[in-house]
């Protein structure tokens, strides 16, 4: 019986020996470069950042003094206010997008692209075996279907991890070259237990990356499921991509009218709503979202496994 490691090794070979994969990596590198150049070209340096922060503070104070501010939003405003005051006090400039760290934080947006790529890879790793007819020779070895499926899932997640690392490396290099590293010692200001604290910027970037990966993992799992159920690559990629881009909007619209929208997957994928924003539906909390994500995750995977294990292979 083969070890799961050699099965993963096989899946990796099938991912990285394909030209399409290298095309994706090239596209990723290109996006980081384009992102940096566009930022550099369009960024307008504020004349006096202190004046801007001060006016922001005034605005927040005005909002806070109003009567019916939702409680969650009020907390958020208060935190921002404290952080801004701290900036003026300690002379710490806000992180501009045309600095090394600012660019690195915004590079997390490119994770959407990685999500798309991972969806393509994950959906392909199951559906392509069917359309190529190779599934037959794959499943007549002494490896259970469960093990084969698991190796494919792990290989897809490893691919995502690899792309994330590449994104981080690419953007660090591009950021350093395009924006320089003079401000590399800049701290990240966070609000903890009633006080403002200075934290490592690197940790902050990693946190932003991690939060952006929720979509990545959930949509990859979703695409994996669709491709195991329908054995069709385009369908799986199409559905997952559509869900990825249209899902949040539709959910937001629904959330305005219906409370039950909070049980939808996309109401819970954006965990930043609890860190520097307001929850989509009043009463939602971080543990609630974590729980919902876990439930969806388990359902997707269980369905994939159940169907793949039982299916007659007639390809």
């Amino acid at each position: 019986m083969p070890s799961i490691l050699s099965l993963i090794q096989n899946e990796n070979m099938k991912i990285y020996r394909r030209i399409g994969t290298w095309f994706m990596i090239a596209l990723l590198a290109l996006s980081t470069l384009a992102g940096a150049l566009i930022t550099k070209a369009t960024h307008k340096e504020p004349k006096n950042w202190k004046a801007e922060v001060a006016s922001e503070i005034k605005e927040m104070e005005a909002q806070l003094s109003e009567e019916k501010v939702p409680k969650m939003y009020k907390n958020h405003l208060e935190q921002q206010l404290k952080i801004n005051e701290y900036r003026l006090e300690h002379n710490i400039k806000p992180v501009a997008s045309n600095t090394f760290w600012g660019y690195l934080v915004s590079s997390a947006d490119i994770i959407a692209l990685i999500t798309l790529f991972t969806i393509i890879v994950a959906a392909g790793s199951v559906a392509n075996e069917f359309s190529w007819g190779t599934i037959k020779l794959l499943l007549i070895r002494s490896a259970s279907r469960t093990k084969i499926l698991l190796s494919k899932y792990i290989a897809a997640l490893l691919f995502a991890l690899c792309m994330l690392l590449l994104l981080f490396v690419f953007s660090s290099v591009v950021g350093a070259i395009v924006f320089g590293i003079e401000n590399i010692r800049e701290p990240y200001l966070a609000y903890q237990n009633g006080t403002v604290v200075e934290k490592s910027m690197l940790l902050h970037v990693m946190q932003v990356y991690a939060l952006n990966c929720v979509d990545l993992v959930m949509m990859t799992t979703f695409a994996f499921m669709i491709s195991a159920v329908f054995r069709n690559h385009s369908l799986a990629v199409g559905l997952a991509t559509f869900a990825l881009f249209a899902g949040p909007q539709i959910t937001t619209l629904l959330a305005m009218k219906f409370d039950w929208a909070k049980y939808l997957l996309f109401a819970n994928t954006d965990l930043t709503q609890y860190i520097d924003g307001t929850p989509l539906v009043e009463g939602m909390t971080m543990p609630f979202s974590m729980m919902m994500l876990l439930i969806y995750f388990v359902i997707f995977n269980a369905l994939t496994w159940f169907i793949f294990r039982k299916r007659d292979i007639a390809a």
Binding site: M1, P2, S6, L7, Q9, N10, M13, K14, R17, R18, I19, W132, G133, T134, K136, L137, L138, L139, I140, R141, S142, A143, S144, K310, D312, I313, A314
Partner: protein, 304 residues
């Protein structure tokens, strides 16, 4: 001898249709077993069930006595197979394809891969991408992946499809050698009946998902048959034969007289002719070809 493969009342329903009806057969070590049947008879479906690609509606398949349904991983360990066309990863080289399958079984070394490559005669092209292969080359690569882990049961669905005459001959000789020398049990399905006749020890003929008959090659040559007699003078011989076998179907052809007669009765017919001073130059047994037998059993060219 214990059978390598046992099918016990295997049945397959897809939807409301029964595709395989309670099929039972056994394959022993050291034999090449032909699996024949017209298009749509259920050969591929049966093979898919044997290797666990399809579920079995009722009945069981035992490989080395182990049920494929209850302990798939253990039962499939000693099976090598090609199911329909040998589809490979086209963007990988032949060698990478073999490496892929080698990793899926413990104990397949690099040397073994080289050995198998040589055996199927792909040394020159093994490091080329499979998308540049011809059908016959892919068929050879398919055979290579099936042999990689030294299986004791080899299941080949139309392995000679796409091979050139020399290739067919090579594969045939090789399969016979594997069976005789290494005691493998080999199941081969094919449409090429003359091919099968040369390759196999026994046949199962199936039609509409039912077993029509199992026969061995020896039996085939002993069945009721025609005998061609080269005699002189012909007229006198005809009278003699008509006297002994009044109801026999006799045709006199250019080469001689053709009679339908049991194998066991040939000597006595000969004796009768000789005692009447007829010169017997030759007695040729016209064995029924597998093709004739096949058409007889399946009732011609009928597709399920």
């Amino acid at each position: 001898m214990n059978p390598l493969l046992q099918l016990k009342n295997v049945r397959k329903d897809i939807g409301k249709k029964t595709i395989i009806h309670d099929l039972s057969l056994e394959v022993f070590p050291g034999e090449v077993f032909g699996f024949l049947g017209p298009n749509g008879a259920g050969k591929t479906t049966t093979i898919r069930m044997i290797v666990g690609l399809m579920g079995i509606t009722s009945g069981d398949v035992l490989i080395n006595g182990i049920s494929i349904q209850k302990d798939f991983e253990k039962a499939i360990q000693h099976v090598g197979a090609i199911v329909e066309n040998p589809e490979m990863y086209k963007f990988l080289t032949g060698y990478q394809n073999l490496l892929h399958y080698a990793r899926m079984t413990k104990g397949v070394t690099k040397e073994r891969i080289d050995e198998v490559v040589k055996l199927v005669g792909l040394e020159k092209r093994i490091h080329d991408k499979v998308k540049t292969y011809s059908l016959g080359m892919r068929q050879r690569l398919g055979l290579a992946q099936a042999l990689l882990h030294r299986p004791s049961l080899l299941i080949l669905d139309e392995p000679t499809n796409g091979l050139d005459p020399a290739g067919i001959r090579e594969i045939r000789d090789y399969l016979r050698k594997l069976a005789k020398e290494e005691g493998l049990g080999i199941i081969v399905s094919s449409h090429l009946l003359s091919e099968m006749e040369m390759m196999c020890d026994r046949f199962a003929i199936i039609q509409h998902g039912r077993l029509v008959g199992i026969e061995s090659v020896q039996e085939l040559s002993k069945q009721a048959q025609k005998v061609l007699l080269t005699v002189k003078p012909v007229e006198q011989a005809l009278t003699v034969i008509k006297n002994i076998y009044p109801h026999m179907n006799i045709t006199s052809a250019k080469q001689g007289i053709e009679v339908s007669i049991d194998y066991e009765e040939i000597p006595s017919l000969n004796a009768a002719l000789v005692s009447e001073n007829i010169k017997v130059y030759g007695i040729q047994v016209l064995t029924k070809s597998l093709e004739e037998r096949f058409l007889e059993m399946t009732g011609g060219n009928e597709i399920a």
